[in-house]
Assembly symmetry: C3
Homo-oligomer: 208 residues x 3
Protein backbone atom coordinates (compact mmCIF):
# COMPACT_ATOMS: atom_id res chain seq x y z
CA UNK A 1 0.00 0.00 0.00
CA UNK A 2 2.63 2.45 1.12
CA UNK A 3 4.77 1.38 -1.82
CA UNK A 4 1.87 1.94 -4.18
CA UNK A 5 1.30 5.47 -2.91
CA UNK A 6 4.99 6.24 -3.26
CA UNK A 7 4.97 4.79 -6.76
CA UNK A 8 1.99 6.91 -7.79
CA UNK A 9 3.61 10.03 -6.40
CA UNK A 10 6.77 9.47 -8.42
CA UNK A 11 4.66 8.60 -11.48
CA UNK A 12 2.81 11.90 -11.25
CA UNK A 13 6.09 13.73 -10.61
CA UNK A 14 7.39 12.24 -13.88
CA UNK A 15 4.21 13.29 -15.67
CA UNK A 16 4.66 16.77 -14.22
CA UNK A 17 8.28 17.02 -15.36
CA UNK A 18 7.55 15.80 -18.88
CA UNK A 19 4.60 18.18 -19.13
CA UNK A 20 6.83 21.11 -18.06
CA UNK A 21 9.36 20.19 -20.73
CA UNK A 22 6.63 19.97 -23.37
CA UNK A 23 5.00 23.24 -22.36
CA UNK A 24 8.35 25.05 -22.31
CA UNK A 25 9.21 23.84 -25.83
CA UNK A 26 5.74 24.73 -27.16
CA UNK A 27 5.87 28.18 -25.59
CA UNK A 28 9.24 28.89 -27.20
CA UNK A 29 7.71 28.14 -30.62
CA UNK A 30 4.93 30.64 -30.06
CA UNK A 31 2.02 28.19 -29.97
CA UNK A 32 -1.25 29.44 -28.56
CA UNK A 33 -2.79 28.46 -25.22
CA UNK A 34 -4.38 25.28 -26.54
CA UNK A 35 -1.17 24.34 -28.36
CA UNK A 36 0.84 24.64 -25.16
CA UNK A 37 -1.68 22.54 -23.24
CA UNK A 38 -1.83 19.93 -26.01
CA UNK A 39 1.95 19.58 -26.36
CA UNK A 40 2.34 19.37 -22.56
CA UNK A 41 -0.26 16.62 -22.38
CA UNK A 42 1.13 14.68 -25.36
CA UNK A 43 4.67 14.87 -23.96
CA UNK A 44 3.51 13.58 -20.59
CA UNK A 45 1.10 10.87 -21.78
CA UNK A 46 1.98 10.01 -25.40
CA UNK A 47 4.37 7.19 -24.58
CA UNK A 48 1.96 5.53 -22.18
CA UNK A 49 -0.92 5.73 -24.65
CA UNK A 50 1.08 3.94 -27.37
CA UNK A 51 2.17 1.31 -24.83
CA UNK A 52 -1.43 0.72 -23.77
CA UNK A 53 -2.57 0.36 -27.39
CA UNK A 54 0.19 -2.22 -27.99
CA UNK A 55 -0.63 -4.34 -24.92
CA UNK A 56 -4.40 -4.13 -25.36
CA UNK A 57 -5.13 -1.88 -22.35
CA UNK A 58 -8.22 -0.14 -23.76
CA UNK A 59 -8.85 2.69 -23.12
CA UNK A 60 -5.30 3.94 -22.48
CA UNK A 61 -4.81 5.10 -18.88
CA UNK A 62 -3.48 8.46 -20.07
CA UNK A 63 -6.93 9.15 -21.52
CA UNK A 64 -9.14 7.65 -18.81
CA UNK A 65 -7.35 8.55 -15.56
CA UNK A 66 -8.06 12.23 -14.88
CA UNK A 67 -4.93 12.68 -12.75
CA UNK A 68 -2.65 12.51 -15.79
CA UNK A 69 -4.62 15.18 -17.62
CA UNK A 70 -4.91 17.34 -14.51
CA UNK A 71 -1.18 17.11 -13.81
CA UNK A 72 -0.31 18.01 -17.40
CA UNK A 73 -2.71 20.95 -17.47
CA UNK A 74 -1.41 22.21 -14.13
CA UNK A 75 2.19 21.99 -15.35
CA UNK A 76 1.29 23.80 -18.58
CA UNK A 77 -0.52 26.62 -16.78
CA UNK A 78 2.42 26.97 -14.42
CA UNK A 79 4.79 27.22 -17.37
CA UNK A 80 2.63 29.90 -18.95
CA UNK A 81 1.91 31.91 -15.80
CA UNK A 82 5.29 31.69 -14.15
CA UNK A 83 7.66 31.30 -17.06
CA UNK A 84 10.61 33.10 -15.44
CA UNK A 85 10.28 30.95 -12.41
CA UNK A 86 10.17 27.79 -14.55
CA UNK A 87 13.22 28.92 -16.50
CA UNK A 88 15.17 29.23 -13.28
CA UNK A 89 14.05 25.69 -12.53
CA UNK A 90 15.97 24.21 -15.49
CA UNK A 91 18.14 22.10 -13.27
CA UNK A 92 15.34 20.71 -11.05
CA UNK A 93 13.27 20.12 -14.18
CA UNK A 94 16.06 18.00 -15.60
CA UNK A 95 16.15 16.02 -12.39
CA UNK A 96 12.39 15.48 -12.51
CA UNK A 97 12.75 14.52 -16.15
CA UNK A 98 15.36 11.91 -15.25
CA UNK A 99 13.05 10.62 -12.53
CA UNK A 100 10.20 10.39 -15.01
CA UNK A 101 12.43 8.59 -17.46
CA UNK A 102 13.42 5.94 -14.94
CA UNK A 103 9.97 5.47 -13.56
CA UNK A 104 8.18 5.38 -16.91
CA UNK A 105 10.69 2.86 -18.29
CA UNK A 106 10.27 0.52 -15.32
CA UNK A 107 6.53 1.00 -14.98
CA UNK A 108 6.03 0.48 -18.73
CA UNK A 109 7.96 -2.80 -18.65
CA UNK A 110 6.12 -3.90 -15.51
CA UNK A 111 2.64 -3.19 -16.89
CA UNK A 112 3.48 -5.02 -20.13
CA UNK A 113 4.55 -8.16 -18.22
CA UNK A 114 1.39 -7.91 -16.09
CA UNK A 115 -0.68 -8.06 -19.29
CA UNK A 116 1.02 -11.38 -20.11
CA UNK A 117 3.44 -10.35 -22.85
CA UNK A 118 7.03 -11.58 -23.24
CA UNK A 119 10.31 -10.01 -22.14
CA UNK A 120 11.11 -8.44 -25.50
CA UNK A 121 7.74 -6.67 -25.68
CA UNK A 122 8.18 -5.50 -22.09
CA UNK A 123 11.63 -4.00 -22.67
CA UNK A 124 10.65 -2.33 -25.95
CA UNK A 125 7.46 -0.88 -24.49
CA UNK A 126 9.33 0.25 -21.37
CA UNK A 127 11.51 2.35 -23.67
CA UNK A 128 8.46 3.51 -25.65
CA UNK A 129 6.74 4.62 -22.43
CA UNK A 130 9.80 6.59 -21.39
CA UNK A 131 10.72 8.28 -24.67
CA UNK A 132 7.48 8.18 -26.71
CA UNK A 133 6.12 11.43 -25.32
CA UNK A 134 9.34 13.31 -26.05
CA UNK A 135 9.38 11.90 -29.58
CA UNK A 136 5.79 13.03 -30.17
CA UNK A 137 6.60 16.51 -28.79
CA UNK A 138 9.52 16.92 -31.19
CA UNK A 139 7.63 15.54 -34.18
CA UNK A 140 4.74 17.97 -33.57
CA UNK A 141 7.23 20.83 -33.27
CA UNK A 142 9.00 19.53 -36.42
CA UNK A 143 12.49 19.06 -35.05
CA UNK A 144 14.62 15.93 -35.10
CA UNK A 145 13.84 14.22 -31.78
CA UNK A 146 16.47 15.23 -29.23
CA UNK A 147 16.20 11.84 -27.53
CA UNK A 148 17.83 10.36 -30.63
CA UNK A 149 20.84 12.68 -30.68
CA UNK A 150 21.48 13.82 -27.14
CA UNK A 151 23.44 12.56 -24.14
CA UNK A 152 22.64 9.07 -22.91
CA UNK A 153 18.88 9.18 -22.59
CA UNK A 154 17.01 6.45 -24.43
CA UNK A 155 19.83 4.06 -23.60
CA UNK A 156 19.32 4.77 -19.88
CA UNK A 157 15.63 3.92 -20.36
CA UNK A 158 16.62 0.73 -22.18
CA UNK A 159 18.90 -0.33 -19.35
CA UNK A 160 16.23 0.44 -16.76
CA UNK A 161 13.54 -1.52 -18.61
CA UNK A 162 15.86 -4.49 -19.22
CA UNK A 163 16.88 -4.61 -15.55
CA UNK A 164 13.23 -4.44 -14.49
CA UNK A 165 12.32 -7.37 -16.72
CA UNK A 166 15.37 -9.34 -15.55
CA UNK A 167 14.39 -8.66 -11.95
CA UNK A 168 10.86 -9.93 -12.42
CA UNK A 169 12.08 -13.06 -14.23
CA UNK A 170 14.69 -13.71 -11.51
CA UNK A 171 12.02 -13.28 -8.81
CA UNK A 172 13.84 -10.48 -7.06
CA UNK A 173 11.90 -9.18 -4.07
CA UNK A 174 9.34 -6.62 -5.28
CA UNK A 175 11.18 -3.70 -3.71
CA UNK A 176 14.45 -4.49 -5.47
CA UNK A 177 12.79 -5.41 -8.75
CA UNK A 178 11.20 -1.98 -8.88
CA UNK A 179 13.59 0.46 -7.26
CA UNK A 180 16.98 -0.83 -8.35
CA UNK A 181 16.25 -0.40 -12.11
CA UNK A 182 14.70 3.00 -11.46
CA UNK A 183 17.76 4.09 -9.49
CA UNK A 184 20.17 2.78 -12.13
CA UNK A 185 18.33 4.56 -14.94
CA UNK A 186 18.08 7.86 -13.07
CA UNK A 187 21.68 7.64 -11.88
CA UNK A 188 23.01 6.92 -15.35
CA UNK A 189 21.00 9.79 -16.81
CA UNK A 190 22.08 12.29 -14.15
CA UNK A 191 25.74 11.27 -14.41
CA UNK A 192 25.70 11.50 -18.21
CA UNK A 193 24.22 15.01 -17.92
CA UNK A 194 26.82 16.10 -15.41
CA UNK A 195 29.83 14.61 -17.21
CA UNK A 196 28.49 15.01 -20.78
CA UNK A 197 28.69 11.33 -21.55
CA UNK A 198 27.51 10.55 -25.06
CA UNK A 199 27.01 7.54 -27.22
CA UNK A 200 29.21 7.60 -30.30
CA UNK A 201 27.61 9.52 -33.15
CA UNK A 202 28.45 9.71 -36.81
CA UNK A 203 27.88 13.23 -38.01
CA UNK A 204 29.45 14.22 -41.25
CA UNK A 205 31.99 11.46 -41.61
CA UNK A 206 32.01 9.01 -44.47
CA UNK A 207 33.53 6.22 -42.40
CA UNK A 208 34.21 5.38 -38.76
Amino acid sequence: MNERVLFELVDLAGTFAFAISGATAARRQGLDLFGVLAIAYVTACGGGVVRDLCIGAIPPAGLSDWRYLATAVFAALLTIGAYRWVERLASPVRLFDAMGLGLFAVYGAHKTLEFGHNAEVAILLGVVTAIGGGLARDVLLTRVPVVLQQEIYASAALLGAALAVFGEYAHWPALWAMWLPIAVCIGLRVLSLRYHWNLPSFKGDGAT
Copy 2:
Protein backbone atom coordinates in the same frame (compact mmCIF):
# COMPACT_ATOMS: atom_id res chain seq x y z
CA MET B 1 -34.01 7.32 -39.32
CA ASN B 2 -34.29 10.71 -40.97
CA GLU B 3 -31.88 12.09 -38.38
CA ARG B 4 -29.41 9.31 -39.11
CA VAL B 5 -29.43 10.06 -42.83
CA LEU B 6 -28.91 13.75 -42.13
CA PHE B 7 -26.08 12.90 -39.74
CA GLU B 8 -24.36 10.70 -42.33
CA LEU B 9 -24.66 13.40 -44.97
CA VAL B 10 -23.00 15.98 -42.73
CA ASP B 11 -20.38 13.41 -41.71
CA LEU B 12 -19.45 12.79 -45.34
CA ALA B 13 -19.50 16.54 -46.01
CA GLY B 14 -16.95 16.92 -43.22
CA THR B 15 -14.84 14.11 -44.66
CA PHE B 16 -15.05 15.85 -48.03
CA ALA B 17 -13.97 19.21 -46.65
CA PHE B 18 -11.05 17.77 -44.70
CA ALA B 19 -9.95 15.78 -47.76
CA ILE B 20 -10.04 18.94 -49.89
CA SER B 21 -7.89 20.76 -47.36
CA GLY B 22 -5.41 17.87 -47.28
CA ALA B 23 -5.25 17.52 -51.05
CA THR B 24 -4.76 21.27 -51.49
CA ALA B 25 -1.87 21.33 -49.03
CA ALA B 26 -0.25 18.25 -50.59
CA ARG B 27 -0.58 19.66 -54.09
CA ARG B 28 1.09 22.92 -53.03
CA GLN B 29 4.11 20.91 -51.81
CA GLY B 30 4.44 19.18 -55.17
CA LEU B 31 3.62 15.65 -54.05
CA ASP B 32 2.77 13.13 -56.75
CA LEU B 33 -0.67 11.70 -57.47
CA PHE B 34 -0.45 9.02 -54.80
CA GLY B 35 0.90 11.52 -52.29
CA VAL B 36 -2.06 13.83 -52.85
CA LEU B 37 -4.52 10.94 -52.48
CA ALA B 38 -2.76 9.66 -49.37
CA ILE B 39 -2.63 13.06 -47.62
CA ALA B 40 -6.29 13.72 -48.50
CA TYR B 41 -7.31 10.38 -47.04
CA VAL B 42 -5.18 10.75 -43.90
CA THR B 43 -6.49 14.27 -43.27
CA ALA B 44 -10.09 13.08 -43.61
CA CYS B 45 -9.81 9.80 -41.67
CA GLY B 46 -6.70 9.98 -39.47
CA GLY B 47 -8.43 11.36 -36.40
CA GLY B 48 -11.21 8.78 -36.53
CA VAL B 49 -8.76 5.91 -36.92
CA VAL B 50 -6.81 6.92 -33.80
CA ARG B 51 -10.09 7.31 -31.89
CA ASP B 52 -11.22 3.85 -32.95
CA LEU B 53 -7.91 2.30 -31.88
CA CYS B 54 -8.23 3.96 -28.46
CA ILE B 55 -11.81 2.80 -27.85
CA GLY B 56 -11.28 -0.71 -29.20
CA ALA B 57 -13.35 -0.35 -32.38
CA ILE B 58 -11.38 -2.80 -34.56
CA PRO B 59 -11.04 -2.39 -37.49
CA PRO B 60 -11.31 1.43 -37.54
CA ALA B 61 -14.33 2.60 -39.54
CA GLY B 62 -12.15 4.88 -41.68
CA LEU B 63 -10.48 1.74 -43.03
CA SER B 64 -13.48 -0.57 -43.34
CA ASP B 65 -16.29 1.72 -44.54
CA TRP B 66 -15.71 2.36 -48.23
CA ARG B 67 -17.63 5.64 -48.22
CA TYR B 68 -14.86 7.44 -46.32
CA LEU B 69 -12.22 6.29 -48.77
CA ALA B 70 -14.44 7.03 -51.78
CA THR B 71 -15.24 10.53 -50.51
CA ALA B 72 -11.57 11.30 -49.86
CA VAL B 73 -10.48 10.01 -53.27
CA PHE B 74 -13.24 11.98 -54.98
CA ALA B 75 -12.22 15.16 -53.15
CA ALA B 76 -8.56 14.61 -54.03
CA LEU B 77 -9.28 14.01 -57.72
CA LEU B 78 -11.46 17.11 -57.75
CA THR B 79 -8.64 19.14 -56.22
CA ILE B 80 -6.23 17.86 -58.85
CA GLY B 81 -8.50 18.16 -61.87
CA ALA B 82 -10.22 21.40 -61.01
CA TYR B 83 -7.66 23.23 -58.93
CA ARG B 84 -8.67 26.75 -60.00
CA TRP B 85 -12.24 25.98 -59.16
CA VAL B 86 -11.26 24.62 -55.76
CA GLU B 87 -9.14 27.69 -55.07
CA ARG B 88 -12.13 29.91 -55.69
CA LEU B 89 -13.97 27.70 -53.19
CA ALA B 90 -11.68 28.76 -50.30
CA SER B 91 -14.49 30.31 -48.37
CA PRO B 92 -17.01 27.45 -48.80
CA VAL B 93 -14.19 25.00 -48.01
CA ARG B 94 -13.59 26.78 -44.72
CA LEU B 95 -17.26 26.53 -43.94
CA PHE B 96 -17.28 22.80 -44.74
CA ASP B 97 -14.16 22.45 -42.62
CA ALA B 98 -15.90 24.14 -39.70
CA MET B 99 -18.85 21.80 -40.19
CA GLY B 100 -16.54 18.82 -40.22
CA LEU B 101 -14.85 20.07 -37.08
CA GLY B 102 -18.13 20.35 -35.19
CA LEU B 103 -19.52 17.09 -36.40
CA PHE B 104 -16.36 15.07 -35.89
CA ALA B 105 -15.93 16.44 -32.36
CA VAL B 106 -19.48 15.56 -31.37
CA TYR B 107 -19.59 12.25 -33.20
CA GLY B 108 -16.20 11.22 -31.74
CA ALA B 109 -17.39 11.96 -28.21
CA HIS B 110 -20.69 10.18 -28.85
CA LYS B 111 -19.08 7.02 -30.26
CA THR B 112 -16.64 6.89 -27.33
CA LEU B 113 -19.48 7.02 -24.79
CA GLU B 114 -21.35 4.35 -26.77
CA PHE B 115 -18.34 2.06 -26.34
CA GLY B 116 -18.70 2.46 -22.58
CA HIS B 117 -15.82 4.79 -21.77
CA ASN B 118 -15.92 7.70 -19.32
CA ALA B 119 -16.52 11.40 -19.92
CA GLU B 120 -12.83 12.36 -19.97
CA VAL B 121 -12.02 9.77 -22.64
CA ALA B 122 -15.03 10.93 -24.65
CA ILE B 123 -14.05 14.61 -24.59
CA LEU B 124 -10.40 13.94 -25.38
CA LEU B 125 -11.24 11.57 -28.23
CA GLY B 126 -13.84 13.99 -29.56
CA VAL B 127 -11.02 16.51 -29.93
CA VAL B 128 -8.72 13.85 -31.40
CA THR B 129 -11.37 12.93 -33.98
CA ALA B 130 -11.75 16.55 -34.99
CA ILE B 131 -8.11 17.66 -35.13
CA GLY B 132 -6.15 14.38 -35.52
CA GLY B 133 -6.37 14.32 -39.31
CA GLY B 134 -5.12 17.90 -39.61
CA LEU B 135 -2.26 17.12 -37.24
CA ALA B 136 -1.26 14.09 -39.30
CA ARG B 137 -1.42 16.15 -42.52
CA ASP B 138 0.91 18.78 -41.11
CA VAL B 139 3.32 16.24 -39.60
CA LEU B 140 3.59 14.41 -42.94
CA LEU B 141 4.21 17.73 -44.70
CA THR B 142 6.71 18.66 -41.92
CA ARG B 143 5.20 21.90 -40.75
CA VAL B 144 4.19 22.83 -37.23
CA PRO B 145 0.50 21.85 -37.03
CA VAL B 146 -1.63 24.89 -37.81
CA VAL B 147 -4.35 23.67 -35.46
CA LEU B 148 -1.93 24.41 -32.62
CA GLN B 149 -1.19 28.00 -33.61
CA GLN B 150 -4.17 29.32 -35.52
CA GLU B 151 -7.45 31.02 -34.68
CA ILE B 152 -9.73 29.25 -32.25
CA TYR B 153 -9.94 25.78 -33.75
CA ALA B 154 -9.06 22.96 -31.42
CA SER B 155 -10.69 24.89 -28.58
CA ALA B 156 -13.94 25.02 -30.55
CA ALA B 157 -13.72 21.23 -30.93
CA LEU B 158 -13.05 20.91 -27.19
CA LEU B 159 -16.12 22.98 -26.37
CA GLY B 160 -18.27 20.98 -28.78
CA ALA B 161 -17.12 17.62 -27.41
CA ALA B 162 -17.56 18.75 -23.80
CA LEU B 163 -21.08 20.03 -24.48
CA ALA B 164 -21.96 16.77 -26.23
CA VAL B 165 -20.80 14.71 -23.25
CA PHE B 166 -22.62 17.04 -20.84
CA GLY B 167 -25.77 16.70 -22.91
CA GLU B 168 -25.69 12.92 -22.84
CA TYR B 169 -25.01 12.84 -19.10
CA ALA B 170 -27.83 15.32 -18.48
CA HIS B 171 -30.19 13.24 -20.65
CA TRP B 172 -30.97 16.05 -23.02
CA PRO B 173 -33.34 14.96 -25.79
CA ALA B 174 -31.30 13.30 -28.58
CA LEU B 175 -31.84 16.14 -30.99
CA TRP B 176 -30.52 18.78 -28.59
CA ALA B 177 -27.68 16.59 -27.34
CA MET B 178 -26.41 16.23 -30.89
CA TRP B 179 -27.18 19.45 -32.72
CA LEU B 180 -26.64 22.08 -30.06
CA PRO B 181 -22.94 21.18 -29.50
CA ILE B 182 -22.39 20.92 -33.25
CA ALA B 183 -23.94 24.34 -33.77
CA VAL B 184 -21.93 25.91 -30.95
CA CYS B 185 -18.65 24.50 -32.26
CA ILE B 186 -19.33 25.55 -35.86
CA GLY B 187 -20.60 28.95 -34.79
CA LEU B 188 -17.58 29.64 -32.60
CA ARG B 189 -15.24 28.57 -35.37
CA VAL B 190 -16.92 30.66 -38.03
CA LEU B 191 -17.08 33.72 -35.79
CA SER B 192 -13.41 33.38 -34.82
CA LEU B 193 -12.51 33.19 -38.51
CA ARG B 194 -14.56 36.25 -39.37
CA TYR B 195 -13.40 38.38 -36.45
CA HIS B 196 -9.90 36.90 -36.14
CA TRP B 197 -10.38 35.80 -32.57
CA ASN B 198 -7.30 34.08 -31.20
CA LEU B 199 -6.25 32.40 -28.04
CA PRO B 200 -3.34 34.18 -26.36
CA SER B 201 0.01 33.01 -27.72
CA PHE B 202 3.51 33.52 -26.46
CA LYS B 203 5.80 34.01 -29.40
CA GLY B 204 9.17 35.51 -28.75
CA ASP B 205 8.56 36.93 -25.29
CA GLY B 206 10.52 35.85 -22.29
CA ALA B 207 7.70 36.57 -19.86
CA THR B 208 3.99 37.31 -19.90
Copy 3:
Protein backbone atom coordinates in the same frame (compact mmCIF):
# COMPACT_ATOMS: atom_id res chain seq x y z
CA MET C 1 6.27 -25.98 -45.16
CA ASN C 2 8.91 -25.28 -47.76
CA GLU C 3 6.87 -22.33 -48.97
CA ARG C 4 6.58 -21.02 -45.42
CA VAL C 5 10.35 -21.15 -44.91
CA LEU C 6 10.87 -19.36 -48.21
CA PHE C 7 8.29 -16.75 -47.23
CA GLU C 8 9.97 -16.12 -43.88
CA LEU C 9 13.36 -15.77 -45.53
CA VAL C 10 12.08 -13.13 -47.94
CA ASP C 11 10.23 -11.43 -45.08
CA LEU C 12 13.43 -11.13 -43.06
CA ALA C 13 15.31 -10.00 -46.17
CA GLY C 14 12.76 -7.19 -46.51
CA THR C 15 13.16 -6.31 -42.85
CA PHE C 16 16.92 -6.27 -43.39
CA ALA C 17 16.71 -3.98 -46.42
CA PHE C 18 14.34 -1.53 -44.74
CA ALA C 19 16.57 -1.48 -41.63
CA ILE C 20 19.62 -0.73 -43.79
CA SER C 21 17.79 2.15 -45.44
CA GLY C 22 16.71 3.52 -42.05
CA ALA C 23 20.16 3.18 -40.50
CA THR C 24 21.81 4.84 -43.51
CA ALA C 25 19.45 7.82 -43.33
CA ALA C 26 19.89 8.16 -39.55
CA ARG C 27 23.67 7.97 -39.82
CA ARG C 28 23.72 10.73 -42.44
CA GLN C 29 21.85 13.00 -40.01
CA GLY C 30 24.46 12.38 -37.32
CA LEU C 31 22.24 10.57 -34.82
CA ASP C 32 23.96 8.66 -32.05
CA LEU C 33 24.24 4.87 -31.75
CA PHE C 34 20.82 4.47 -30.15
CA GLY C 35 19.25 6.82 -32.68
CA VAL C 36 20.58 4.75 -35.57
CA LEU C 37 19.32 1.52 -33.99
CA ALA C 38 15.93 3.06 -33.25
CA ILE C 39 15.41 4.49 -36.73
CA ALA C 40 16.51 1.19 -38.32
CA TYR C 41 14.03 -0.73 -36.18
CA VAL C 42 11.18 1.71 -36.75
CA THR C 43 11.76 1.71 -40.52
CA ALA C 44 11.73 -2.09 -40.61
CA CYS C 45 8.83 -2.73 -38.23
CA GLY C 46 6.77 0.46 -38.00
CA GLY C 47 4.34 -0.41 -40.79
CA GLY C 48 3.66 -3.89 -39.43
CA VAL C 49 3.04 -2.58 -35.91
CA VAL C 50 0.39 -0.12 -37.12
CA ARG C 51 -1.22 -2.88 -39.22
CA ASP C 52 -1.34 -5.20 -36.20
CA LEU C 53 -2.93 -2.50 -34.03
CA CYS C 54 -5.60 -1.92 -36.69
CA ILE C 55 -6.49 -5.61 -37.11
CA GLY C 56 -6.38 -6.39 -33.39
CA ALA C 57 -3.22 -8.54 -33.44
CA ILE C 58 -2.01 -7.73 -29.90
CA PRO C 59 0.88 -7.56 -29.22
CA PRO C 60 2.20 -6.54 -32.66
CA ALA C 61 4.52 -9.18 -34.12
CA GLY C 62 7.26 -6.58 -34.69
CA LEU C 63 7.46 -6.19 -30.91
CA SER C 64 7.03 -9.81 -29.81
CA ASP C 65 8.98 -11.80 -32.43
CA TRP C 66 12.68 -11.42 -31.62
CA ARG C 67 13.78 -12.11 -35.20
CA TYR C 68 12.52 -8.72 -36.42
CA LEU C 69 14.42 -6.86 -33.71
CA ALA C 70 17.54 -8.99 -34.19
CA THR C 71 17.50 -8.45 -37.96
CA ALA C 72 17.08 -4.71 -37.58
CA VAL C 73 19.86 -4.44 -34.99
CA PHE C 74 22.17 -6.55 -37.14
CA ALA C 75 21.48 -4.36 -40.18
CA ALA C 76 22.07 -1.19 -38.14
CA LEU C 77 25.36 -2.44 -36.71
CA LEU C 78 26.46 -3.46 -40.19
CA THR C 79 25.62 0.02 -41.48
CA ILE C 80 27.65 1.59 -38.68
CA GLY C 81 30.63 -0.75 -38.78
CA ALA C 82 30.93 -1.19 -42.52
CA TYR C 83 29.53 2.04 -43.88
CA ARG C 84 31.72 2.18 -46.99
CA TRP C 85 30.74 -1.36 -47.85
CA VAL C 86 27.06 -0.54 -47.38
CA GLU C 87 27.39 2.56 -49.57
CA ARG C 88 28.76 0.45 -52.38
CA LEU C 89 25.70 -1.77 -51.87
CA ALA C 90 23.27 0.99 -52.91
CA SER C 91 22.02 -0.95 -55.88
CA PRO C 92 21.52 -4.30 -54.07
CA VAL C 93 19.92 -2.40 -51.19
CA ARG C 94 17.38 -0.91 -53.60
CA LEU C 95 16.64 -4.38 -54.89
CA PHE C 96 16.16 -5.70 -51.36
CA ASP C 97 13.98 -2.68 -50.63
CA ALA C 98 11.80 -3.47 -53.65
CA MET C 99 11.56 -7.08 -52.46
CA GLY C 100 10.57 -5.88 -48.99
CA LEU C 101 7.98 -3.59 -50.51
CA GLY C 102 6.35 -6.37 -52.49
CA LEU C 103 6.43 -8.89 -49.71
CA PHE C 104 5.23 -6.53 -46.98
CA ALA C 105 2.34 -5.33 -49.17
CA VAL C 106 1.18 -8.86 -49.93
CA TYR C 107 1.80 -10.25 -46.46
CA GLY C 108 0.05 -7.27 -44.85
CA ALA C 109 -3.03 -7.80 -47.03
CA HIS C 110 -2.96 -11.55 -46.40
CA LYS C 111 -2.69 -11.24 -42.61
CA THR C 112 -5.55 -8.70 -42.57
CA LEU C 113 -7.85 -11.06 -44.47
CA GLU C 114 -6.83 -13.92 -42.15
CA PHE C 115 -8.04 -11.81 -39.21
CA GLY C 116 -11.45 -11.66 -40.88
CA HIS C 117 -11.50 -8.08 -42.19
CA ASN C 118 -12.84 -6.96 -45.56
CA ALA C 119 -11.05 -6.33 -48.86
CA GLU C 120 -10.75 -2.57 -48.39
CA VAL C 121 -9.10 -2.94 -44.99
CA ALA C 122 -6.76 -5.57 -46.43
CA ILE C 123 -5.62 -3.42 -49.35
CA LEU C 124 -5.18 -0.29 -47.22
CA LEU C 125 -3.26 -2.15 -44.53
CA GLY C 126 -1.14 -3.91 -47.15
CA VAL C 127 -0.02 -0.47 -48.29
CA VAL C 128 0.45 0.66 -44.67
CA THR C 129 2.62 -2.39 -43.96
CA ALA C 130 4.78 -1.65 -46.98
CA ILE C 131 5.21 2.12 -46.64
CA GLY C 132 4.49 2.81 -42.95
CA GLY C 133 8.04 2.22 -41.78
CA GLY C 134 9.48 4.55 -44.41
CA LEU C 135 6.94 7.21 -43.49
CA ALA C 136 7.86 6.94 -39.80
CA ARG C 137 11.58 7.15 -40.65
CA ASP C 138 11.07 10.36 -42.62
CA VAL C 139 8.77 11.93 -40.02
CA LEU C 140 11.32 11.24 -37.25
CA LEU C 141 14.06 12.75 -39.42
CA THR C 142 11.71 15.68 -40.21
CA ARG C 143 11.69 15.46 -43.98
CA VAL C 144 8.69 15.18 -46.27
CA PRO C 145 8.25 11.41 -46.75
CA VAL C 146 10.02 10.35 -49.95
CA VAL C 147 7.43 7.64 -50.55
CA LEU C 148 4.96 10.43 -51.26
CA GLN C 149 7.06 12.24 -53.86
CA GLN C 150 9.34 9.72 -55.47
CA GLU C 151 9.19 7.27 -58.39
CA ILE C 152 6.37 4.77 -58.37
CA TYR C 153 6.64 3.27 -54.90
CA ALA C 154 3.49 3.38 -52.84
CA SER C 155 1.47 2.79 -56.00
CA ALA C 156 3.43 -0.44 -56.62
CA ALA C 157 2.53 -1.52 -53.08
CA LEU C 158 -1.10 -0.63 -53.74
CA LEU C 159 -1.15 -2.73 -56.90
CA GLY C 160 0.50 -5.67 -55.11
CA ALA C 161 -1.92 -5.56 -52.19
CA ALA C 162 -4.95 -5.23 -54.48
CA LEU C 163 -3.83 -8.18 -56.61
CA ALA C 164 -3.24 -10.28 -53.50
CA VAL C 165 -6.74 -9.57 -52.21
CA PHE C 166 -8.23 -10.25 -55.64
CA GLY C 167 -6.33 -13.54 -55.80
CA GLU C 168 -7.64 -14.71 -52.45
CA TYR C 169 -11.21 -13.74 -53.34
CA ALA C 170 -10.92 -15.50 -56.71
CA HIS C 171 -9.54 -18.62 -55.01
CA TRP C 172 -6.35 -18.65 -57.01
CA PRO C 173 -4.05 -21.49 -55.97
CA ALA C 174 -2.02 -20.42 -52.92
CA LEU C 175 1.22 -20.23 -54.86
CA TRP C 176 -0.19 -17.87 -57.49
CA ALA C 177 -2.16 -15.81 -54.97
CA MET C 178 1.03 -15.09 -53.09
CA TRP C 179 3.84 -14.93 -55.61
CA LEU C 180 2.21 -13.28 -58.59
CA PRO C 181 1.33 -10.05 -56.70
CA ILE C 182 4.76 -9.99 -55.08
CA ALA C 183 6.42 -10.36 -58.48
CA VAL C 184 4.24 -7.67 -60.06
CA CYS C 185 4.96 -5.20 -57.26
CA ILE C 186 8.72 -5.84 -57.28
CA GLY C 187 8.85 -5.78 -61.07
CA LEU C 188 6.95 -2.51 -61.32
CA ARG C 189 9.17 -0.93 -58.68
CA VAL C 190 12.41 -2.09 -60.28
CA LEU C 191 11.31 -0.99 -63.75
CA SER C 192 10.21 2.42 -62.48
CA LEU C 193 13.62 2.84 -60.83
CA ARG C 194 15.48 1.86 -63.99
CA TYR C 195 13.41 3.95 -66.38
CA HIS C 196 12.56 6.79 -63.95
CA TRP C 197 8.84 6.32 -64.26
CA ASN C 198 6.91 8.76 -62.12
CA LEU C 199 3.36 9.49 -61.27
CA PRO C 200 2.30 12.98 -62.36
CA SER C 201 3.13 15.59 -59.74
CA PHE C 202 2.03 19.18 -59.35
CA LYS C 203 4.92 21.20 -58.10
CA GLY C 204 4.75 24.91 -58.45
CA ASP C 205 1.94 25.15 -60.96
CA GLY C 206 -1.30 26.90 -60.25
CA ALA C 207 -3.29 24.73 -62.64
CA THR C 208 -2.93 21.48 -64.56
